[in-house]
C-alpha cells in the first residue's frame, strides 16, 4: 500500500471547491431554517389558533423521519407530481424542512425556560405585553437558546454530507467521485477525514466553550 502524495495534492483544488459547497449548503440551510423556526416559534408561543396545531404536526413529522428519505422524496418523488428540482435545490429544501423543525423546538424551549417570576415581576411593574416581550422575555430566551442553537447549526452543517446522495458536489461526494474514478481510496479517505476534523472539530470545541461560558450568564437562578 503506497501513499500517492502527488495525486493527493492534485485533488486539492477540487476539494477546496467542495469545502465551499459544504459551507454554502450549510450556511443557506441554517439561514432558511432559522427563518422558518422564528415564524413557527412565534406561532407556538402565541398559540395562534389552528396554525399552532399545524406547526406541531410539522415539527413531529420532520423530527421523526430520516433526512435521507425526506431528501429522496423531494428529489425523486416530487418530479412525478410535476415539481422538478435540482440536487442543490432539493438539498436546501430538505435541510430547511428538517432544520426548521429542530430550531423551532430550540426557540420554543428557550422562551419556556425563562422563569415565570420574570414575567410576573415584569407585569407587576406595569410593562405592557410588547415591552415584556422585547425587554424581558426575548433577551433572556435568546441567551438561553444560544448553546442549543449553535449545537443545531453544527448538526446541520454535518448533515450536509447526506446530500451527497443526490450528487451535490460537497466534500463526501467529491471523495466518492475520486475513489470511483482513480481507486485512490487510501488517499481520498485521508483527505476527507482531515477536512472533517479541520472544519468540524474547532466548531465543536467552540460550542463546548460557549456552553460553559453561558452557564454563568443566566438570570434569576
Amino acid at each position: 500500500m503506497s501513499f500517492d502524495t502527488a495525486f493527493m495534492l492534485s485533488t486539492l483544488p477540487a476539494f477546496f471547491k467542495a469545502v465551499g459547497v459544504t459551507l454554502q449548503v450549510g450556511a443557506i440551510a441554517i439561514a432558511t431554517s432559522l427563518l422558518v423556526a422564528l415564524l413557527n416559534a412565534t406561532i407556538l408561543v402565541l398559540r395562534t389558533p389552528y396554525l399552532w396545531r399545524l406547526v406541531k404536526g410539522y415539527v413531529e413529522l420532520a423530527r421523526n423521519t430520516p433526512l435521507l428519505i425526506q431528501l429522496f422524496f423531494v428529489y425523486f418523488a416530487l418530479p412525478s407530481l410535476g415539481v422538478k428540482v435540482s440536487g442543490f435545490a432539493a438539498a436546501i429544501i430538505t435541510m430547511t424542512f428538517m432544520g426548521g423543525a429542530y430550531l423551532t423546538e430550540v426557540l420554543r424551549a428557550g422562551v419556556e425556560a425563562v422563569p415565570r417570576a420574570q414575567l410576573e415581576s415584569g407585569r407587576s411593574i406595569g410593562l405592557s405585553e410588547g415591552q415584556l416581550l422585547r425587554h424581558v422575555i426575548l433577551p433572556q430566551a435568546g441567551i438561553l437558546s444560544l448553546p442549543a442553537l449553535f449545537a443545531n447549526f453544527i448538526f446541520l452543517l454535518k448533515e450536509t454530507t447526506v446530500v451527497s446522495a443526490v450528487a451535490v458536489p460537497e466534500i463526501l461526494y467529491t471523495t466518492k467521485n475520486y475513489i470511483a474514478l482513480y481507486y485512490k481510496t487510501y488517499e481520498m479517505l485521508a483527505v476527507l477525514t482531515l477536512l472533517c476534523v479541520l472544519i468540524f472539530l474547532p466548531l465543536s470545541l467552540l460550542l463546548r466553550y460557549l456552553e460553559r461560558r453561558l452557564q454563568h450568564g443566566q438570570f434569576g437562578n
Binding site: E60, L61, N64, A77, S80, L172, L192, T193, C196, V197
Partner: protein, 219 residues
C-alpha cells in the same frame, strides 16, 4: 389511481417488510451496542482517571467532528484496505451506529452520574462497597431516571440514521422501496410509505421520552 395505489402497496408489502426487518435489525443491534458501550463509557468517565478521560475525550470528539455518514464510508472502504478485513456492509452499519451511539449515550450516562450528590459515592465507599457494587447498587440505579429520556431520544436518532446504510449497499427498507419504484414508478407512494414507516417507529419513542422527562423532572 387511489385503489391501484393501495393495491400496489399490498402487493409490495412482503418486499418492503423484508427490507424493514433489515432496518429494524440494524437499528436494534446498533441500539444494543450503543447502550452497553454508553454505560461502559459513562462509568469509565466518572472513575477520575486522567489518562482514561483524555482517551474517552478523543473518542468522543472523533465521533462528534466526523459525521456518521463519513464514518460509514471510512469503515466500509477503510477496513478492507487498512486491516485487510472485509465485513458485510450490514455489520459495517451496525459497528458505526454502535460506536457513534455509544459516544452519545456515554455522555448522557456520564452527565447523569456526575449530577448525583457526592455523598452517594462517599457513603457507598464508606460502607465498604467495591466498584461493581457501588455502580451497580448505588449510582447507576439513581442515575437511571435522569438518563432514560435523553437516551430514548438517541435511540430514535440511531433508527433514523440507520437509513444511511442504504448508501453503502445494505438492502434495507429504502433499497426495497427503490426496487419497487424501479418496477412501478410509484415514487410518491413508496417514499410516502417509507416516511410513514419511520414515523410510526420513531414517534412513539419520542413521545415516551417526553412523557418520562416530564414525569421525572424532579427526580
Amino acid at each position: 389511481m387511489a385503489s391501484s395505489g393501495i393495491e400496489l402497496l399490498l402487493v409490495s408489502l412482503p418486499q418492503l417488510a423484508t427490507g424493514a426487518w433489515q432496518t429494524l435489525a440494524i437499528s436494534a443491534l446498533g441500539i444494543l451496542f450503543a447502550t452497553l458501550g454508553g454505560v461502559l463509557y459513562g462509568v469509565l468517565a466518572t472513575l477520575g482517571n486522567r489518562w482514561l478521560n483524555i482517551l474517552l475525550q478523543v473518542y468522543l470528539e472523533l465521533f462528534r467532528a466526523i459525521p456518521v455518514l463519513v464514518w460509514l464510508y471510512l469503515v466500509f472502504f477503510g477496513l478492507p484496505i487498512f486491516f485487510g478485513l472485509s465485513i458485510p456492509s450490514f455489520w459495517c452499519a451496525v459497528l458505526v451506529l454502535g460506536l457513534w451511539g455509544a459516544s452519545e449515550v456515554g455522555e448522557v450516562v456520564r452527565g447523569a452520574l456526575q449530577s448525583l450528590p457526592r455523598g452517594q459515592r462517599e457513603a457507598g465507599l464508606s460502607i465498604g462497597l467495591g466498584g461493581w457494587q457501588l455502580y451497580g447498587y448505588v449510582l447507576l440505579p439513581q442515575a437511571l431516571k435522569r438518563m432514560t429520556p435523553p437516551t430514548i431520544n438517541i435511540y430514535t436518532r440511531i433508527i433514523k440514521t440507520s437509513s444511511l446504510a442504504v448508501l453503502i449497499g445494505v438492502v434495507e427498507v429504502i433499497k426495497a422501496g427503490q426496487q419497487i419504484i424501479e418496477r412501478t414508478y410509484e415514487s410518491v407512494l413508496i417514499y410516502g410509505a417509507l416516511l410513514l414507516f419511520f414515523f410510526l417507529v420513531c414517534y412513539p419513542l419520542s413521545a415516551a421520552s417526553r412523557v418520562l422527562e416530564r414525569r421525572w423532572a424532579h427526580a
